[in-house]
């Protein structure tokens, strides 16, 4: 009998998703039993085979120009059906509210007049683009793809950490992770009924086609990538291939008379929908950064004329602004007349004098985030920072309070993770991907679980050395069956299909 979980220790007070003390939580019983049947050496050889296959397939992530295999942990994360149903509804609600908010912000601005959020919060955001004002997307959708980051607090409740409605990445790993884990843990996969993730590209393509300019019956959809040196290039290629569309770079496109065309071996061919994986600022040197070589001159004008649809829409970044995040509960109530299904993490705005005073008094206990940062950049975790770092931070906050928010240290939940030859508790978050085709917001069951591979580390971003886990959303109900750690023998007969 295997002992692989014997030395496992949870990290109080963080919520461990697999164990309560030494007992397996119900959703993990089957998985715990299944993994328990593997010896430590068997587990190691499977981990190695999995890593080798990622390198051969080129499932990689670029960090500072170096191509690395995207780290995938062998222990999947399990989410039971009912928990997922709540996430699903909560994400749908949030995307709908964000759509209404963006449509309003770039049009009449009723949300300001009604006093829900001050207008200057939007106009001072670095992601507010006047170029997007007055543009009405063909089917009203601005957020074709979203990735709303969730974390689990110390009680196990899911909370929204941040909204990503610009160009969220990571969905390709959801698909490749499932295939890799199927190969690495065929027994465990067979013993669970897991909701599939492979139909994501079809859902995305349908949403992109639905967003085509009016009057185009058979739109030419393309994926726009910054090129092979972009960190997420693997994902761009995978999405283009699985949707059966062209993957273009800026230099493949040309704008003539307000139309976007692509250079082909047979001359120029029209483009109708661009799933762009380039940030707003790099899309069009005429409107944004004049030094950008990644986009194409005239793209924004073509979009404003309604001849091409950019997905996601330009200007969505205002919704990702972490200061706007603090207003999201009110925004949801205002547009939908519902309470938020998934709560925010408690947050203080540094622009409010009273909150600022309180926060500055206990900087060493809190997490401070720049409002327009992404990828974990600029975040200071108070308890982990030196006195000097905190002094620098204090200066920055006083200089520009609008640019900062503070949150309590959320101890993100933990899941057993294989590092350096043993299993340890590591912190995880969850990015569920949602696709909006204008009729329905569809949430990919599972999403990307990112895991901080260093012990105690709370920042999970891949740019900061994070890895990922396959995320299983169970299709059937979870039966409650008492089971201790490593009680693996003699269970197999009762474990057919759930």
């Amino acid at each position: 009998m295997s002992q692989i979980f014997d030395a496992y220790e949870t990290r109080d007070p963080a919520y461990d998703e697999m164990f309560v003390g030494s007992e397996l939580r119900p959703p993990y019983q089957r998985l715990g039993d299944s993994l328990g049947r593997l010896s430590a050496s068997e587990l190691i050889s499977r981990v190695e085979a999995m890593q080798a296959s990622y390198l051969d397939q080129g499932v990689t992530f670029d960090i500072g120009g170096e191509e690395r295999a995207f780290p995938l942990d062998i222990v999947p994360r399990v989410i039971e059906r009912d928990t997922w149903a709540t996430i699903d509804k909560g994400v749908q609600q949030r995307v709908k509210a964000l759509e209404l908010f963006l449509a309003d912000v770039y049009d009449e601005g009723k949300v300001f007049d009604d006093g829900v959020i001050p207008r200057e919060v939007i106009t001072t955001s670095s992601h507010y683009h006047r170029a997007a004002a007055g543009v009405h997307p063909p089917n009203g959708v601005r957020v074709q793809v979203s990735g709303i980051d969730l974390v689990r607090d110390n009680t196990g409740e899911f909370r929204v950490l941040e909204d990503n409605v610009r160009v969220p990445s990571g969905v390709s790993y959801v698909m490749t992770n499932r295939r890799a884990i199927s190969a690495a843990l065929p027994e465990a996969i067979a013993e669970h009924r897991i909701r599939p993730v492979a139909n994501y590209p079809q859902k995305l393509l349908a949403a992109l086609r639905a967003a085509a300019p009016a009057g185009v019956a058979d739109p030419n959809v393309v994926v726009l990538t910054p090129g092979v040196y972009n960190g997420a290039y693997f994902e761009h290629a995978l999405l283009a291939r699985t949707m059966g569309v062209e993957l273009v770079e800026g230099r493949d496109l040309v704008c003539r008379n307000g139309q976007v065309l692509m250079r082909t071996t047979k001359g120029l061919a029209p483009v109708h929908v661009i799933y762009r994986r380039i940030d707003d600022e790099f899309l069009d040197p005429v409107h944004f950064r004049p030094d950008s070589m990644l986009g194409c001159v005239g793209l924004i004008d073509a979009a404003r004329m309604g001849n091409v649809t950019l997905a996601n829409a330009v200007g969505n970044g205002v919704a990702d602004d972490k200061l706007v995040y603090t207003y999201m509960p009110d925004i949801i109530r205002y547009y939908l007349a519902e309470d938020p299904i998934i709560k925010n993490v408690d947050t203080w705005r540094m622009g409010d004098a009273s909150s600022r005073e309180e926060v500055l008094d206990r900087l060493d206990e809190l997490v401070l985030k720049p409002v327009d940062g992404s990828g974990g950049k600029g975040i200071v975790i108070g308890p982990a920072a030196s006195a000097r770092e905190l002094e620098v931070l204090r200066g920055k906050i006083l200089e520009d309070p609008r640019s900062w928010i503070a949150q309590p240290v959320v101890q993100l939940s933990t899941v057993p993770t294989f590092t350096d030859g043993s299993l340890g508790a590591r912190h995880v978050d969850l990015r569920p991907f949602a696709v909006n085709d204008g009729d329905k917001v569809w949430v990919l069951p599972g999403g990307l679980t990112r895991v901080a591979l260093a012990e105690g580390e709370l920042i999970v971003n891949s740019s900061r050395g994070g890895g990922s886990k396959d995320t299983w959303v169970l299709a059937g109900p979870t039966s409650s069956r008492p089971s201790g750690r490593g009680q693996s023998q003699g269970q197999s007969q009762t474990q057919g299909v759930a």
Partner: protein, 309 residues
């Protein structure tokens, strides 16, 4: 298809073929240099490097290790197999959504031997066999999994243009040292995997002329110059896709067709009179045809202005 992708396909075809042909040439030449006591190693290495387009200043010493570095291991030397495999993979990386998944993996795993350090530890002649095996796997995978659409035609065009270029160099190396007589031609035939076929066709009679004729002019042997030219023409024909009343509008097609005709419609004697010059002409044609294809297909919108219809 996208012009940029078409260009990538063309260069994947060229680089993969170049890696294989370099392996074939090195296999034969290193064996020849080692076995033939009469050969001056330095001169032989220099002339082989010259044929492959590498000029080494006379002050520098050149031996087998230096030559193998330039043509096999050095990832920064554009003439090396390591460079060709890396470049093929880099082109493939930019065209990943167009390649079949197994083809991408075949290219990627081959390339991975280089950064992983395996490649530089493989010795000659083992490494030549390894490269040929890997290329056979890449080509076989392409053959079994790729659609016969435009991207396939560009892959084939690249392969056959490169094969012409490299076969011409192989033939040139042979004629440079043809003091070795028939035995030298035999090893050239072996390098092309053509020796047995040649014997069968010629009923066992080995002469220099017959060997040269076989490598240059045989229409149905896949590594002969004329066969490769025919296949390149075929790819260009399919790409153009229209029925023609008269002549050829495609510059690359014209260049390659003219080259093939000038090889086929001359007497063998005439052809062999100055083989090295003839082979150089073939190499120039390959370069010019590549340029013409680039202008017409890979430049996208610019091509419209350049190619009025």
């Amino acid at each position: 298809m996208l012009s940029r992708i078409a260009e990538s396909m063309f260069w994947i075809g060229r680089y993969v073929e170049r890696a294989e042909d370099t392996a074939r040439i090195l296999d034969v030449q290193t064996q020849h240099i080692l076995e033939d006591a009469a050969t001056d190693v330095e001169t032989a290495c220099r002339s082989l490097l010259a044929v492959m387009g590498v000029e080494i200043p006379p002050t520098e010493k050149v031996g087998l290790p230096q030559m193998l570095d330039m043509l096999a291991y050095d990832t920064t030397a554009p003439t090396s197999m390591a460079y060709a495999l890396g470049a093929a993979r880099e082109s493939a990386r930019g065209a990943r959504e167009t390649l079949s998944v197994p083809l991408w993996e075949a290219l990627n795993t081959t390339y991975r031997a280089i950064p992983a350090g395996q490649f530089k530890h493989m010795r000659a002649p083992f490494i030549f066999g390894w490269v040929r095996d890997r290329v056979a796997q890449i080509n076989g995978t392409a053959d079994a999994t790729m659609m016969r659409d435009e991207s396939w035609q560009f892959l084939m065009l690249g392969r056959y243009v490169e094969r012409d270029d490299m076969t011409s160099r192989l033939v040139a190396t042979t004629s440079l040292t043809s003091a070795g007589g028939a035995s030298q031609w035999n090893s050239t035939l072996r390098a092309c995997g053509a020796y047995d076929a040649f014997l069968r066709v010629n009923k066992g009679v080995e002469t220099e002329q017959a060997a040269a004729e076989f490598l240059l002019l045989d229409r149905i042997f896949p590594r002969s110059v004329v066969h490769a030219l025919q296949r390149a023409e075929g790819a260009l024909d399919t790409l153009e896709g229209t029925t023609r009343r008269a002549g050829f509008t495609d510059e690359a097609h014209r260049l390659i067709g003219r080259m093939r005709a000038s090889l086929e419609y001359r007497s063998l004697h005439d052809l062999l009179a100055d083989l090295p010059a003839e082979m150089e002409r073939l190499q120039v044609t390959c370069a010019e045809a590549t340029e013409a294809v680039t202008k017409r297909y890979f430049a996208g919108a610019e091509a419209l202005a350049w190619q009025p219809v």
